[in-house]
């Protein structure tokens, strides 16, 4: 491999990048997907009931509701607005707390507390809002609860929201589009336009071409994986663990891209390959969406071995040493793919090509 020729090809690909619809898509797609998930599905899948409170008198009940993390509460200026919001199902429920509510409660009166409930809200949300409100009223009144409820969480202990469960899908998609699609299309384009032939009669070798394509995909995949995590507020945890996990993931993505690129003789066969094999690539994300499914099945998919370390570092606080065993498996898969690229790559220049 010659560094000069590799860099020259990489520089050319970087110049062509902004003019390529695929690279533009790789850059824009994570942002669009994130906006879609948060803007459209975010509120639909948010597990917390949404409560509006009209509180002209500054009641302790309103303050307590706003403090509760289990509820998505907010102050609404007046009763008419509240009713409208509930009717439109922008809120699951709405409370109107009159001026002097707290004092009347403590004096032993039974003040009215209008509660608007959306007909489209989930039954569970209505129950949660009602019970929580009654519990808080007792607290404002100065009385303790008659029983102590012991909460036992079953199933997924982390209790991730649907949006949080979609983050692995977004990260994986961002890395696959950049690492697999951009790399393989770039290589197939060189073959289809016969420009690969023009490169291979210069001092550039096939290895130089493949390394340049892989480098572009690697940089894009790491960058877009990082951007996607940042957009979703998941750029947290051990920096070393996250960086190494992203690098290993990007490496696997470009290796898969190179395998696709050397197998496919043209764009049509590449599309067919994507359609046929992409389930293998994105398979693991299903198990994040449905944590009740047997999680060991996710380990059968190659991308699991870098995706789970990314999720572990960003959501479970794992460190590099915690995720190292999984990353080693991922690296072993990368090495096997590299051997495959080397073997299949000989086909690229024609019979008896000298790579």
């Amino acid at each position: 491999m010659r560094l000069r020729t590799t860099l020259a090809i990489l520089r050319k690909d970087l110049a062509l990048g902004p003019r390529s619809p695929l690279v533009a898509w790789a850059l824009v797609m994570p942002v669009l997907m994130t906006l879609l998930v948060h803007g459209v599905f975010g509120s639909l899948f948010d597990a917390r009931p949404r409560v509006g409170v009209v509180d002209p008198g500054g009641s302790e009940l309103a303050a307590a509701l706003l403090d509760l993390p289990e509820l998505d509460s907010r102050i609404v200026p007046d009763e008419a607005t509240l009713e409208l919001l509930v009717e439109r199902h922008d809120l699951d429920a709405g409370l109107v707390i009159d001026v002097g509510f707290d004092e009347a409660l403590r004096a032993g009166d039974r003040p009215a507390l209008p509660l608007f409930v959306s007909g489209e809200s989930l039954a569970s949300n209505r129950v949660i809002v009602s019970v929580t409100t009654l519990d808080l009223i007792r607290s404002v009144e100065g009385r303790s609860a008659p029983v102590t409820v012991e909460v036992v969480t079953t199933g997924d202990a982390q209790d991730l929201s649907m949006v949080e469960r979609l983050v692995p899908l977004l990260v994986l998609m961002a890395m696959l589009v950049s690492g697999v699609f951009v790399t393989s299309f770039s290589l197939v384009e060189e073959r289809e336009r016969r420009t690969l032939e023009a490169l291979l009669v210069t001092p550039a070798s096939l290895t130089d071409v493949l390394v340049a394509k892989a480098t572009l995909g690697l940089v894009l995949a790491v960058a877009m994986g990082t951007v996607t995590l940042a957009l979703n507020g998941a750029l947290t945890g051990s920096p070393a663990g996250l960086l190494v996990s992203l690098l290993v993931g990007a490496t696997m993505a470009v290796m898969i891209g190179l395998v696709y690129g050397v197998i496919s003789s043209d764009a049509r066969s590449l599309y067919t390959l994507f359609k046929s094999l992409n389930i293998i690539l994105i398979g693991p994300v299903v198990f994040y969406l449905f944590p009740e499914w047997p999680q060991w099945i996710a380990k059968l998919f190659p991308t699991y071995w870098f995706l789970d370390p990314i999720v572990a570092v960003t959501t479970r606080g794992s460190t590099l040493s915690d995720v190292a065993p999984d990353l080693l498996v991922a690296l072993a898969i990368c090495a096997a793919l590299a051997v495959l690229v080397g073997a299949l790559g000989r086909r690229l220049g024609g019979p008896s090509v000298q790579a």
Partner: protein
Amino acid sequence: MTQSRPSTQTTPAISVQDVRFSYGSREAVRGLSFEVARGEVLGFLGPNGAGKSTTIKMLTGQYRPSAGRIELLGSDLARHREELQGLIGVCFEEKNLYPSLSGVEHLRFFARLHGVKDLDSEALLERVGLATRGRDRVAGYSKGMRQRLMIARALVNDPEVLILDEPSDGLDPVSAQTIRGVIREQAEGGCAVLITTHDMWEADALADRVAFINEGKLFALDTPEGLKLAFGKRSVRVRVRLASGEVAERVVELDGEESAEKLAQATRGGELLTIHTDEATLEDVFVRMTGRGLA
């Protein structure tokens, strides 16, 4: 040029010795041997499927011969491929350019691959008549402009061996003349040039020698004049208006010392109207030798 020159000036620039190549069980090139000297233009002619493209792929290092030896500039191509690829220029028949790059960007990119740092891309584009369109993207180029850019691309490293596959393909007569001028300049500068073409007139005008290849074998290699003399018809067609007003056409075979006298006789006895030589073309020679055309 940054690469070292591995050979002396006396060795042939291209030496092909008993080279063979097979696609599976089909032998495409069968024991081909020829040489091209520095400063020489060799026309490589043959019908489709004759083995020309396979030979070019072997000469450019894309294919490895199954037998035989290829030397470029005195060095074994199999052993010094990358070094020698830095010293050759190749123009493909296929217009394999990047549509999104401009002409200038193409030349700079390929110059970087060759390690050429001081390329004057504007001057090179000027040579092939593309100076005014150098900053435009290739997607907007006509077929002829793409072909001229391909020629310029083959010259970015000031090659010692130039291999051109159908260099005039898609060019209008004026552009084709410009490109022939560029090829001649390269040869006069000491570059060995191998061109394949279907244009027999171009081969005749441009090539110092012509190689005929058919079914993977070389069966004639000589100057165009030599081939035409050896295999063509040598005759003169004379038209004379006789005293009776009738126009007579006489064919004089140029086959001996008496040819001049025969020609003089043919022009007598009336008003001489026209004299046409009936010289064979290279295509005539090829058809006569192989029993098939060049298409």
